[in-house]
Structure formats: structure tokens, C-alpha cells
């Protein structure tokens, strides 16, 4: 793959977790059941780009990120980072690559060690990976990462403990720890949902600025469509382990094609009380991924499903109305919008 190619390319990724079998199940020789948490996910991300993975809890967003990090093993598909296939690499050969992919977790109150000063938290990845020959060199890298994360001057924060920091500052420390190794890919799992409204914008702008520098790409996992619409270049809407709609953020928000995307957008409350959207409230919640419905997986909750939706499992492709030719070839063109719906 060329240098201007995809930084991250995920093709038909599948991850499943075994369901525990009871003794009765074993005696009856019932086959083992699997939770198909990620069930054929494909997307790509370029350097300098932010892609948002949105969907309800349990749709497989976080498992997708964990599989990309190889924290859980994929049972199918290919993950390519910077042109290298990392799907089959042994843990030993993967280790140097871990520097390239870093994760920012949801809750900085949980993810930071309360007994570690900021210096230790941000410096630990350097020690683990043996980066920085001397203490002085490491201190410089730590200060650089803190300042890149918006905590300047770094000397003000280096010796503080997490409890001496505000929520927004804690998340910036977590981001600095991720940046210390100068990764090319940042996975941010709900990076602001635990933070106060007043500081969310700051942390999101930080991530936005980092990727706009062009050194890295950001995969942001969020359930907040407004955030995704504002900060991401592209949005991938996940439902039950699959991406059901994927395209440029504004296009997905302003002209959604999948009935699930339409429903999700319709229930986002507007801050203007005069704007009343006709909320299309779907009944129930995401079905159990052990028993994924036949045909289209969204069919049981879909307001417009037809008989044929029970038979055909729709693939993620360009909607017929958008035309099949032009665009979408190579990574230089704006990737085309794709929808997994027979009726799109």
C-alpha cells in the first residue's frame, strides 16, 4: 500500500465470544453458541482523519476497537495498519507495533492510577517500550506529550496526582499518555461522555486538532450523534455487529438512508425547544447477538420492512439512487456513502 493509502484498513472483521454451556447443554450435546459481537465490519481510516463509530450499547463498537488493538482475537477478517497486516502477528512481533496504536478510555477517573503522579502515568509507556535512553530524554518526551495534549506548561502538571486535576485535565493526561509513544492511530472510546458539558468541547477540539496536524488518525467511538456530526469526517453507524450506514458525516446526518440511522437521528433532542422532531422511537432494544435475525438484522424493529427483508441479508453498498459509477475508487476520492438496506 502506498504512503497516502489507508492508515487503518479493516476488512470483513469478525469477533465472537463463546456463550457458557450448562452441564445440561453439554449432556444434550447442544452445540456451543456464540455471541457474534462483530459480524463483518469493513472500513478504512486515513492519516489526519477522524472516523466516528456510532451505535447503541451492545452493537459491537467497543469490541471492534478491542479487536483492532488485538486485545481480543478476531475470528475472521483482516486488519491492516499502515500497510502491514497485523491480524496474524504473534504477540511478540506485535509488541513494536503497539506503539503505533494507542487507546483513550471513557472514564479518566478509572483509567488513571490514583497513586501515580502525572509524570509516571505519561512516562510508563516509554519505560514499557524502552523509549528514551536517559531520564532526561524521557522527561522531554513526557513534557512534549503533555503540551501536545493541551497541558502547558507541563511543569505545572508533572508532579500532580489525578485527584488534584479536574475531569477535563485528567482526560488530557490520559491522552498525553497515549501520545507519549507518538502513535499513528488513536482509538478513543467515548472520550467525553464522563466529562462535564463545559469541558467536553475542549477535549474534542484537542482530538480534532491532533488529527488535523496530519500525524495521526482518530477512530472515535461514541453514542452521541451530535458530537460525531461536529467532529468526525465520516460516520459509521453500527447495529448488531455490522456497519449499516457509512459515509461523510454531514451526508449521513443530513440525508440518512438506512431506517436505523433515520430513527437514531430522529430521537436526538434539539436544544431549541421550538424544534420538535417527529421522534421515531424504536420499541425495545438491540436484540441478543446470539440469535441474529435472518435476512436483514434490523428487520424486527424496522418501521418499513418488507417481506423480502426476511430473506436477503443486505450488504453495505452504494445506494442505487446514488449511482454505481464514479467516485469511491482509490483513496484520493471522497469515499462514497454506503448503506446496508434493500430499500435504500
Amino acid at each position: 500500500m502506498t504512503a497516502d493509502g489507508a492508515l487503518l484498513d479493516v476488512a470483513d472483521l469478525r469477533t465472537r465470544y463463546p456463550v457458557r454451556r450448562s452441564i445440561a447443554d453439554r449432556l444434550a450435546r447442544r452445540p456451543r453458541q456464540w455471541v457474534r459481537a462483530v459480524d463483518g465490519v469493513s472500513f478504512s481510516l486515513r492519516r489526519g482523519e477522524m472516523v466516528a463509530l456510532v451505535g447503541e450499547s451492545g452493537c459491537g463498537k467497543t469490541t471492534t476497537a478491542q479487536t483492532i488493538l488485538r486485545m481480543v482475537e478476531a475470528c475472521g477478517g483482516v486488519i491492516t495498519v499502515d500497510g502491514r497486516d497485523i491480524t496474524g502477528l504473534s504477540q511478540r512481533r506485535l509488541r513494536p507495533l503497539r506503539r503505533e496504536i494507542q487507546m483513550v478510555y471513557q472514564d479518566p477517573y478509572e483509567s488513571l492510577d490514583p497513586r501515580f503522579r502525572v509524570r509516571q502515568t505519561v512516562g510508563e509507556p516509554l519505560l514499557v517500550h524502552g523509549v528514551g535512553a536517559s531520564r532526561r530524554e524521557r522527561d522531554e518526551l513526557i513534557a512534549g506529550a503533555l503540551e501536545r495534549a493541551g497541558l502547558a506548561p507541563a511543569s505545572l502538571y508533572l508532579d500532580r496526582y489525578p485527584h488534584e486535576l479536574s475531569g477535563g485535565q485528567r482526560q488530557r493526561v490520559a491522552i498525553a499518555a497515549a501520545l507519549a509513544l507518538d502513535p499513528v492511530l488513536l482509538l478513543a472510546d467515548e472520550p467525553v461522555s464522563m466529562l462535564d458539558v463545559s469541558v467536553r468541547a475542549g477535549v474534542l477540539s484537542l482530538l480534532d486538532g491532533l488529527r488535523k496536524d496530519g500525524r495521526l488518525g482518530v477512530l472515535m467511538i461514541t453514542h452521541d450523534l451530535s458530537t460525531a456530526a461536529h467532529f468526525a469526517d465520516r460516520i459509521a453507524v453500527m447495529y448488531l455487529g455490522r456497519i449499516v450506514e457509512y459515509g461523510p458525516a454531514r451526508q449521513v446526518v443530513n440525508d440518512p438512508r438506512h431506517p436505523y440511522t433515520k430513527a437514531l437521528l430522529s430521537v436526538v433532542p434539539d436544544r431549541d425547544p421550538r424544534v420538535r422532531r417527529s421522534a421515531q422511537i424504536l420499541r425495545g432494544e438491540t436484540p441478543n447477538p446470539v440469535a441474529i435475525p435472518s435476512g436483514c438484522r434490523f428487520r424486527p424493529r424496522c418501521p418499513v420492512a418488507e417481506a423480502r427483508c426476511a430473506e436477503v441479508d443486505p450488504q453495505l453498498e452504494r445506494p442505487a439512487a446514488d449511482g454505481r459509477d464514479g467516485g469511491g475508487h482509490g483513496y484520493d476520492a471522497e469515499p462514497a456513502r454506503k448503506v446496508a438496506c434493500l430499500l435504500a
Binding site: V197, S226, A229, R271, D272, P273, R274
Partner: protein, 379 residues
Amino acid sequence: MTGTTRPAAGTPSLLEVRDLHVWFRLPGGGELHAVQGVGFDLAAGERFGLVGESGCGKTTSILAMMGLLPPNASVAGEVRLAGTDILAGGEDSVRPHRWTDLAMVFQGAMNALNPVRTVISQIAEPIILHGKDAPWAAGSRSRAAAARKRAGELLELVGIPAGTGVRYPHEFSGGMRQRAAIAMALACDPKVLLADEPTTALDVMVQAQIMDLLVRLSEELGLALVLVTHDLPVVAQVCQRAAVMYAGEIVETGTTDALFHDTRHPYTRLLFAATPDLYADDEVTSIPGTPPRLDRPVVGCPFLPRCDSAVSRCESERPALRPVGARQVAAAPRAGGAGLGDDRLSQPLIVAGPPDGDAGHAAACHLNDLVEAPEREPA
């Protein structure tokens, strides 16, 4: 849905909160003045939002109304329920009204259900304990059976089939557990429901279902709702009126429409600017700084250090909550000017939604007092 629904002139409000103060005694000595003169009115069937950042006194205010603060807290002010001050006699005067008149859905209640008891038995428990004289208990064989029947009805009311009540909390989804927590608060037929962040941590679709349920309950049962949240869009869509809290006091109040379209306090404006909107392209900005510490008196306007449009007067004088458009001539700064408790108590009190006011839109900002349209000075 956004019209004012304050009771007509002469009709008493269902709930009147007047000049509510809460102080916490701190372990190392000293006091934290967490709630500093909060007041609002509520009519039956009305939905009122309390919004602001964490630590601004929203939850403390409603816990004080329920008489549920820890022993190191002292409370002053009135909470009048149909004219009677339920805080006047301490715990003895609150207890008869707690759950039967005033009920609360706690933050994270959905995760606080007992994991080893069925959902229906947990809803029936308060009914057995509190509802012995309730009309629906008459003619039943036993209180337990009546309570179980009532619990089933409550589950149906919040949209859970009564038959599923025999399941355990872990067999319920997050949305169903939140519905069960709401059903539990409704067990004794309250008139007012105080809900603390009921939609936080829920998915957008489930959040919409719970918002829908709260609106339906207030409309069908005439339940008055106080919704505590940091989520402005939720308040905009659910509530008719709201109050924005900052540093323990209400800094702006009015109809949700007035708060959005005729914003008077810089804090309200910045809160809206920090909330991304699905379709708007305006830049989302954070509010610099943090709220002030409340364990020492605040001199001047508490929002001053974070304000982008402060004038010199904001440094010396704490602004009072005054009706919007009143164009009051500024009162001369009081001697000292820094003492905040007494100072505030002596000022004419404006409560959110005075029964005889027009729109009840009020703000605690000097810019609002001085001129009709706030003059913006560079920060």
C-alpha cells in the same frame, strides 16, 4: 408545549420552594454553602428543569427538598407543598410527605436495584411499608397481595409487562431497569417527582423512550416533574420551564423557549455554546475555568472568572436574580459587599416563575440589570 403553565392567578402552586439554603459542615472545620437561596414554583402537571455543571447544587437542592441530606448538612428556607412548609419541623414534618407526596428517582437508581430479589418484590416493598391506608389496598386479602397487584399496575404504567416483574434486575435491560426505578418512585402516588439525571448513561434511543415516559406520566397523572440534568437538549424537549444553576444559586430562569431564544446570562449562553447540535454548524466551545469553591464567601459575581462579558461592577457586587426587562436602577453597593449570606437574604427575592409575573424570565447578571440588550465588552 413550551407555553407557561404556571397556575392561573389566585390558584396556589402545588410546590413552592423559597430561599432554600444548604450548608455542609466540613471535617476540618468551616462550612460549604452548597445551595444559596434557590426558589421556584411548580404547578401540577408541570415539568421543570434544573440544569448546570456538576457541583453547582442541583442534586443537593432536591435532596434538601426530600429531607435526605446527611447529618452534617443544615438547611434553611421553605418547601411549601400545597401551602404547608414541610421543612418547618425537621424530619418529623418531612416524613409524612416523603414518597407519598414528593418522590425521587435517584441518579443511577437503575443500577442500585437489589440483585437477589425480583423486580416486582422490590417495587411492592415501599407499598407495603407506606401504603397501608391507600384506597387500592381496601378489600384485598392481604397487604402483600394488594401491594403485589399494585406493583404490577405500576410496571404496566411505565411500559413493562407486569408478568416480567418476576425477573431479576440482571435480566432487565438498562432501559427497563430505569423504568422499574421510576415505577418504584411512583409506588405511593406522589404529586411531585424529582428525577436526578434519569437519562444519563442511557443510549439515545432508550433516553428518548424514558423522556417520552416522563412526559406521558406528567400529562396523564398530573404529576409535577423536576428534572435535574446537565443535558440542555433534554430539558429543552421535556420541560416547559427551567432554571440554570451556578455556584449554588439560580442564575437564570424562565420558559425553556426564553432561555434559548432570549438568553440573558453569559453562563446560559456558554452552556448552549458547549452543547453540540446535530444540524447547526456553529463552533462548539468549552467554558474555561471551573466553578468557584463554595467553602468561602464569593466576592462579586461567582461567574466572573469565567465570564466573557464582565464589567467592572461584576467584581464588587454580586448580582441578584431580577426579572428580565425590569431595567432596575442599580442599587448602591452595600457596605462591605462581600458578605454573601446575609446580603442575599436582605435583597428582594425573585423566585423562578412568580405567580403574578408575565413570563417569569429572570437572570442574575449585572448586564441584564443595566440595559435591555447586554453590552458585550471584550474579555
